[in-house]
């Protein structure tokens, strides 16, 4: 969820900061320490391209052109009057000192871009819905940059062409000529080969992330760390490429596609090892990697496909457009500048995406909520079964198979915990929404409470009637 400072709709005043924090007529505003003005967001889908500012803590802020011009003119020595004069010259339109003070107070100060006097700048951070949680570092920023720098030659045009042509040839041979039967038989015969498949998939995942880092470096931006976390219910690797916001559209797309490209490079390497060893299991890994690549192209969750689509449209945060698009479609719905400011083509594409995301979201969350006990029961049974088999495997000294079962148990347990986390997170947000809607209005609060209780009772009745609590 992104915070929008100072966005106003008709009839609603922007909440300004208390007078004590506003720059007085003689006071000189300054940019907060470490703030960097990155310039225009290139390849934007907006009619008036926004500009980007980055704070010292890495938070990137997108702002409208006038706001950015005001920020550009803040240098710690100019008061509002001087800033107004310079910005008026930039714009070719008159801006008053009071208006500059308003913009600083209502827009720049709350976001921690500007500061007044010794007062520390506010520093809210973006908190997107269902973002990556429980992050851990695999490669520090320094190491990720070093790895990225080392691998940038892979992005040279002749190398890219050679890789893509070679992978196409390997795919044709694998799927049209040789087939995967040998690999499947090998995996079923020997559980150690299944461990090899999982291990190579893991290596492929890390190499995929290095691809993003290398693509980011090749474009001239600086990647952040590479790490692991939990995305919804699954373990996920991630690369922080926030600095790629500053790149051109082509640079951002290269960063986005870098992961998939490195999957292709990895497949080529596996094909080379197969040529030397004739180990069929390697071909199975190549096939699984194709599936993973296809999955990465899904644009409805924050996978590569989402960022690719976002950069093609020129809108950096598609999920933040869901609520404004829905509100603007309602009768008497308010027009949000985040929607009205889009170019026609971009608006059509974002609206189409939103129209696809909403039913998917409703189906997914609705299914999960309606069948939560049954899903948890199935996962619990799966984990119990695998624990039972793992115990048997250990007793039979089949340690490779026991290891496979242990990995299965871990992943199922993660799914179990993650699905509960999603549902409780949803409940928390709904409660917060109800509280905000009914703030200061006892009748509304009573209604919200009654609706909430009725919904819970209905859900519990559904679960019981469906027999979802039986058979644990």
């Amino acid at each position: 969820m992104t915070a929008v400072a100072g966005h106003v709709t008709a009839g609603r005043a922007t909440p300004a900061l208390p007078a004590a924090d506003a720059p007085g007529p003689g006071q000189v505003p300054r940019l907060a320490d470490g703030v960097e003005l990155l310039g225009e967001y290139k390849g934007s889908g907006y009619a008036q391209p926004p500009s980007l500012v980055r704070r010292a803590d890495g938070q990137v802020i997108q702002m409208s052109p006038l706001l950015y011009r005001v920020a550009c003119r803040i240098d710690g020595s100019r008061d509002s009057e001087a800033i107004a004069g310079l910005v008026s010259g930039d714009l070719g339109r008159s801006l008053t000192a009071d208006q500059v003070r308003y913009l600083i107070t209502a827009k720049l100060l709350p976001l921690g871009v500007a500061a007044v006097g010794e007062a520390p700048a506010a520093a809210p951070k973006a908190n997107p819905l269902l973002a990556l949680r429980a992050r851990g570092t695999l490669l520090s920023e320094r190491a990720a940059n070093a790895a990225g720098a080392l691998l940038t030659p892979l992005f040279r045009a002749p190398v890219v062409v050679a890789v893509l042509v070679s992978v196409a040839a390997v795919d044709w041979w694998l799927f049209a000529v040789h087939g995967l039967g040998g690999g499947l038989r090998q995996v079923l015969r020997d559980p150690v080969d299944l461990l090899i498949v999982l291990g190579l998939s893991l290596v492929s995942a890390v190499f995929h992330e290095c691809g993003h880092a290398a693509g980011c470096r090749y474009g001239g931006a600086r990647p952040g760390k590479i790490g692991v976390g939990i995305y919804m219910v699954w373990p996920a690797f991630f690369t922080n490429v926030t600095d790629s916001y500053r790149l051109s559209r082509a640079g951002r797309l290269r960063t986005d596609l870098g992961g998939l490209y490195f999957n292709a490079v990895f497949m080529l390497a596996l094909a080379g090892v197969y040529a030397a060893t004739s180990s069929e299991v390697l071909l199975l890994v190549i096939a699984f990697t194709h599936l993973e690549m296809l999955e990465q192209l899904m644009p409805f969750v924050r996978f590569d496909g989402y960022f690719i689509l976002s950069d093609l449209i020129g809108v950096p945060d598609l999920f933040a457009r869901v609520a404004p698009i829905v509100k603007s479609a309602l009768p008497r719905g308010r027009q949000d500048p985040r929607v009205t400011g889009l170019r026609r083509r971009a608006r059509i594409m974002v609206t189409t995406w939103v129209l696809c995301v909403i039913p998917l979201l409703m189906f997914s969350i609705g299914y999960l909520v309606l069948y939560l006990p049954a899903v948890e029961r199935a996962l619990w049974r799966s984990a119990s079964l695998q624990a039972h088999l793992m115990t048997a495997a250990v007793h039979g000294h089949h340690y490779a198979m026991a290891a496979v079962d242990a990995i299965g148990i871990a992943l199922v347990t993660l799914s179990l915990a993650g699905s509960l986390y999603i549902v409780t997170g949803l409940a928390r947000r709904l409660i917060a929404l109800g509280r905000r809607w009914s703030a200061g209005r006892p009748a509304r609060r009573l209604l919200a409470g009654a609706v909430g209780l009725a919904a819970l009772a209905g859900l519990a009745a559904f679960w019981i009637l469906q027999g979802q609590f039986r058979g644990w």
């Binding site: 992104t2 929008v4 400072a5 966005h7 106003v8 938070q59 990137v60 802020i61 997108q62 702002m63 409208s64 006038l66 714009l91 339109r93 308003y102 973006a126 269902l130 973002a131 079923l188 559980p191 498949v197 999982l198 998939s201 893991l202 992330e209 993003h212 919804m232 699954w234 373990p235 996920a236 690797f237 991630f238 922080n240 993973e292 999955e295 990465q296 899904m298 409805f300 969750v301 924050r302 996978f303 997914s364 999960l368 199935a378 996962l379 799966s382 079964l385 695998q386 088999l389 048997a392 495997a393 089949h398 198979m401 496979v404 079962d405 299965g408 992943l411 799914s415 699905s419 999603i422």
Partner: protein, 75 residues
């Protein structure tokens, strides 16, 4: 020179952008098909009804896949 109006100023927006973290989610498919394949292939390790356990495992693998498919499309 024309004057910028307050209404125009109120429409000026600044938005916190989320960190660009390209995600690679792995193994959630592997936890379904590979574990069910494992149970079917190695079900005879458990000499007592290994085949039955294998069938149950396939069903449970499917539930996991449904969860993955359903919740995989959430934000």
């Amino acid at each position: 020179m024309s004057t910028v109006t307050m209404q125009e100023l109120e429409l000026e927006t600044a938005e916190l952008l989320p960190a660009r973290e390209t995600l690679g989610v792995y193994c959630h498919r592997s936890s379904g098909p590979s574990s069910s394949v494992t149970q079917v292939g190695y079900g005879n390790v458990n000499q007592n009804g290994g085949g039955l356990l294998g069938n149950v495992a396939i069903a449970n693998g499917s539930f996991n896949n449904i969860l993955s498919l359903g919740s995989g499309n959430i934000l």
